[in-house]
């Protein structure tokens, strides 16, 4: 039986889809069978980030409504052969998802895959609640700024009350993934510090992903950063986060601002 991990945030634009793709690819590279499920019906993006948008025929809604088999809708990644994607539909809305249908799809995936990552839509409405409903673990993606942390806090409340595990009186394992962390701005006090974030959310830290142009570039090229540029800082941070998700005990290093001699001379900030 595989683990179902929901990647959620409440707030939009914090990097849920990017993180789903990067974490999923990193776990799959270790040989585990991984399925990525895009729950953002009506605004699908995971297939773009994964570079699979040209191969989508059937999607999650077709599977739920019975017009396609799960095996027909799953797209195998071309780079990592244990990585699969179940895309969302773009021409429907979240009402096309039913709890019974989602339960059945997640159940089937759970029996075949080691990890099922559910990319949640933004918000706290039906779509987000269905994405987290059958999860065993949750990765809460947070930016170090007040509104994002507040929304994450709201989502943690939902995870503890609206998921099937919570209703059965069990705990859902939660991890905070801090993304778009800008060491320079944090040092100047323009961003919340990691300690502040953890103090507010009181959930264990999964990793800190530095703000990086590489992530954006990789997304636009349709390749998760952990596959296309595994050596850059953000990719390394995702790979470490994936290891922690699999239970490894790795210390989290808070990125600090490195200023080279030339940068100081020219007054430029390092990226």
């Amino acid at each position: 039986m595989g683990k179902v991990v929901v990647v959620t945030s409440g707030k939009g634009g914090v990097g849920k889809t990017t993180s789903t793709a990067a974490l999923g690819a990193a776990v799959a590279k270790t040989g585990k069978k991984v399925a990525l499920v895009d729950f953002d019906v009506g605004l699908r993006n995971l297939d773009l980030i994964m570079g699979a948008e040209r191969r989508v025929v059937f999607d999650l809604v077709n599977v739920i409504q019975g017009s396609a088999k799960l095996s027909q809708a799953l797209i195998r990644d071309k780079r990592v052969e244990t990585l699969f994607l179940l895309p969302a539909s773009q021409t429907r809305d979240k009402d096309a998802l039913t709890e019974e249908g989602v339960a059945e799809v997640i159940g089937k995936l759970r029996s075949v895959f080691d990890y099922v990552f559910c990319d949640s839509p933004a918000g706290i409405e039906r779509g987000a609640q269905l994405a987290m409903r059958f999860a065993d673990e949750a990765v809460i993606v947070t930016n170090p700024e007040v509104s994002s942390v507040r929304d994450s806090d709201r989502i943690i409340g939902l995870l503890d009350s609206r998921t099937l595990r919570a209703e059965e009186g069990e705990q859902i394992a939660k991890h905070v993934l801090v993304t778009r962390y800008d060491a320079g701005r944090a040092a100047r006090g323009e961003m919340l510090s990691i300690d502040d974030v953890l103090e507010i959310l009181s959930v264990p830290l999964l990793g800190i992903i530095p703000e990086s142009q590489d992530v954006l570039r990789a997304s636009n090229l349709g390749s998760p950063v952990t596959l296309s540029e595994p050596l850059n800082a953000a990719a390394k941070a995702y790979i470490d986060a994936a290891k922690r998700l699999e239970g490894e005990q790795l210390p989290v290093i808070v990125p600090f601002e490195r200023k080279g001699f030339l940068d100081r001379l020219l007054g430029r900030r390092a990226a």
């Binding site: 191969r55 989508v56 396609a68 021409t91």
Partner: protein
């Protein structure tokens, strides 16, 4: 059944026929339902054009005044109601469409036994299955002339219940089609003068002509028309399909990308050929 009325001049013939009808089921709260209907119609303009609709009122159970208002509201949206389903609603008066009873669900396998579906708007069902697979289910009632109850005044003649099939029409869309829009046209060809964005979908029983760039998905011949084709002035399509045979962007030869092409069936295979 055919029988002759005993008249000295000429016999009048009555015939029973059954038709598949499209049913809308309004639900409370009505303003929310109308809002979602508007959104849906906005995404699929022309869907109700020339399409006779049965109104199933067994969920909402409104009174006569409310029914009049509802028929009026739907009329403003270009949705013509030609009959209603309402248990025990024989007393509606002659100004409203007549009441039908004994509806059966229609599926691709034929008609089911009479059943009531609760709590789902029919419009969802109408779009539920419109995928390249092309098997289209619409909720329907099995209409029989014999089921048409004459309205309360006894002198009303039993009308011939023959409903003209909607003409095979062409749907012309002058605006660009945006991501997330689904154009479903069950009565023939679709012509799009602008572009079709990535993440949108056109499904037609006839052919599809796109005079801009086609970046979305186009499924022609959706109900088994092997002669249908997809034409576009610039092929950047995510998926082209005719009668359920499809080809994704990934599978297309690079030589047919970004060019004017047509997609059609040849010896049971989907062929995509550039216009020379």
């Amino acid at each position: 059944m055919t029988f002759a009325a005993p008249l000295e001049a000429k016999s009048i013939r009555f015939r029973a026929r059954s038709f598949v009808a499209f049913t809308l089921t309004p639900e409370a709260p009505l303003d929310v339902w109308l809002e979602s209907l508007d959104r849906w119609v906005g995404n699929s303009p022309g869907y109700f054009a020339g399409r006779p609709v049965v109104l199933d009122l067994n969920v909402l159970k409104p009174d006569v005044v409310a029914i009049e208002a509802l028929v009026d509201l739907l009329g403003q949206r270009g949705i013509r109601i030609y009959a209603m389903e309402l248990d025990g609603g024989a007393e509606l008066g002659t100004h409203l469409p007549p009441v039908l009873v004994g509806a059966k669900e229609a599926t691709t396998d034929g008609l089911l036994q009479p059943s009531r579906k609760a709590g789902r708007a029919e419009e969802d069902t109408a779009v539920s299955d419109m995928k390249a697979a092309g098997d289209i289910k619409a909720e329907a009632g099995d209409l029989k002339a014999g089921d048409l109850k004459p309205a309360s005044d006894a002198k009303a003649q039993p009308k011939d219940a023959k409903i003209a099939a909607p003409d095979a029409g062409t749907l012309m869309i002058r605006s660009p089609i945006r991501s997330g829009q689904l154009i479903f046209h069950p009565h023939g060809d679709v012509i799009v003068l602008g572009s079709v964005a990535s993440g949108s979908e056109i499904v037609a029983t006839g052919s599809i002509h796109v005079y801009g760039t086609l970046r979305g998905r186009a499924s022609a011949g959706a109900q088994g028309n092997t002669a249908a084709r997809v034409f576009c002035r610039r092929n950047e399509a995510e998926l082209l399909s005719v009668d359920g045979w499809y080809c994704t962007a990934e599978e297309m030869d690079p030589s047919v990308r970004g060019k004017p092409v047509q997609a059609f069936l040849e010896n049971g295979m989907l062929r995509i050929a550039p216009f020379s």
